[in-house]
Amino acid sequence: MFPTACRAAIDQIRTQAVSPMSLLAALAMPAVFAFILYSHTATHTDAATAVGIAGIGMLNAVIVDLLVSLSGEKRWKTLYPALSSPGGLIPLVVGRLVGVAVQSLISLPGTLLMLTLIWGMSPNFDWSRWFLGGLCLAVATTALVGLLSYSLLRFPSSPGMTNGLTGVLIALSTLLVPSTALPPFMQPIAWLVPQSHVMAWVHGGAVAELATALSQSTLIYLVILLSVRRVEHAARARAIPLEA
């Protein structure tokens, strides 16, 4: 399973990493948010802002890239040979998720460069929190968005389901505003989202926040694996089409 997943990740990057849609998703949307944010604050770029803005790019990129990737699998009917192979769909989906996560990392240096060129860098910029926080954010974002894999594989009209998801996740993941800025009923929900814990650590929180984020992400990845198994079973037992 591991070599297949690695190869699926490499092929994902090889075929999509430099696609205009992928680059725009990773860099254009965070730029818009950065302009809105700085029109109110007008300060130099610190690590928390840089990671938060990169997180928006990652979120958008992972949604778009995963959608394009799995829709492509359905359009090209490549899920059938995977389903009939000994390992089934899991190595393929895991590989695509890893590839998508790596692709989304372009947001981290890409948005930092843009923020620095336009608004300058804070003299106290915390490089370790920016780098580690960014990596963990990619892992957490891919986990959360990866839950979409089930619906993308299972339902024919699933691409439409991703509409509006970005906005909800941006709010819940506290990428731009702290959880205290959310309505009271949303605050407990925000702590169920691993990005919120990553952002809490980037804002100066304890390492336990990162551990919580990674634990939550691991749990979500397990749910993704189980949901892909469910898709496999549904495809075999009820002949649901794995093609677009």
């Binding site: 190869r7 092929d11 090209w76 490549t78 059938y80 389903l83 009939s84 000994p86 075999r236 037992a237």
Partner: protein, 275 residues
């Protein structure tokens, strides 16, 4: 072995069950001794499949990259995988296109690449769903030669097809399916000879010239007769008796004569009652 049947007869469903894409609701299916449900992984390793059409490959990847990816799915690794992929690309005449994206391939080339993909892990059983569907006559003939060569190498080949000539050319046995179950199983020759008892033999007479057509209306066992400018096709109960009579009565006018049982297509049409 070929599976023949009308649309909806159950050919593709059978193939999908054998290749682990569909769970049977009853009964069992075994490939190389492995139950396709209880021992799915082992059964999957024992068979290679190509389920028709020109999709099922990654258009942005090259032929070699596609084979490498699917080879990994079947547990192949490193140099062994590279060697096997190169060997198969050579076998299906795609070596010179190995590093080109599949999106640039014709349908026939994609079908050949499918075949190579199915054979990567050297499965003893090869399952093909309409391997030459949609191909031009040259590509279809090339595909048939390839399948024949794999059968000659010792692979068991199971194929579904609508092409009776393909079934006859490639199969030592033919299964006729109807309404989801096996209607008949026999060799192509057995099927044709069996049908001959019901539908008779076809005797084709070629006359010396288009104007010198002989009168065959008294041919023994005559069931049907068709004239076509210098050629007469008779359908008779007993081919041997008809030939004897033709040679005795009209032999001087006949430079060529042939007898054949009904074609597999006629057998198929008779079985499915489309005639």
């Amino acid at each position: 072995m070929s599976i023949l049947g009308s649309n909806g007869a159950g050919k593709t469903t059978t193939v999908r069950m054998l290749t682990g894409l569909l769970l049977p609701t009853a009964g069992e299916a075994v490939i190389e001794g492995y139950d396709v449900v209880r021992e799915r992984r082992k059964a999957a390793l024992a068979c290679g499949s190509s389920l028709g059409g020109d999709s099922g490959l990654y258009p942005r990847l090259t032929a070699l990259q596609n084979l490498a990816f699917f080879g990994l799915m079947y547990g192949m690794r490193g140099q062994a995988l590279k060697r096997r992929a190169a060997e198969l690309l050579d076998h299906v005449n795609l070596t010179d296109r190995a590093d080109e994206p599949v999106s640039t391939f014709s349908r026939g080339m994609r079908q050949r690449l499918h075949l190579a993909r199915a054979l990567l892990h050297k499965p003893p059983v090869l399952i093909l769903d309409e391997p030459s569907a949609g191909l031009d006559p040259h590509s279809a003939a090339s595909m048939r030669r390839l399948v024949r060569s794999f059968a000659d190498e010792g692979h068991s080949v199971l194929l579904t097809t609508h092409d009776m000539r393909e079934a006859e050319e490639l199969s030592s046995r033919v299964v006729l399916m109807k309404d989801g179950s096996v209607h008949t199983e026999a060799t192509p020759a057995e099927l044709r000879l069996g049908a001959a008892r019901q539908h008779g033999f076809v005797v084709e007479v070629i006359w010396n010239g288009s104007d010198s057509t002989g009168n065959c209306s008294n041919c023994p066992g005559l069931m049907d007769i068709k004239q076509d400018r210098g050629v007469t096709r008779l359908r008779v109960r007993d081919g041997g008796m008809a030939v004897q009579w033709l040679l005795a009565e009209l032999g001087a006018q006949i430079p060529s004569l042939s007898v054949s049982p009904p074609t597999l297509e006629e057998v198929f049409l008779s079985m499915t009652e489309v005639r």
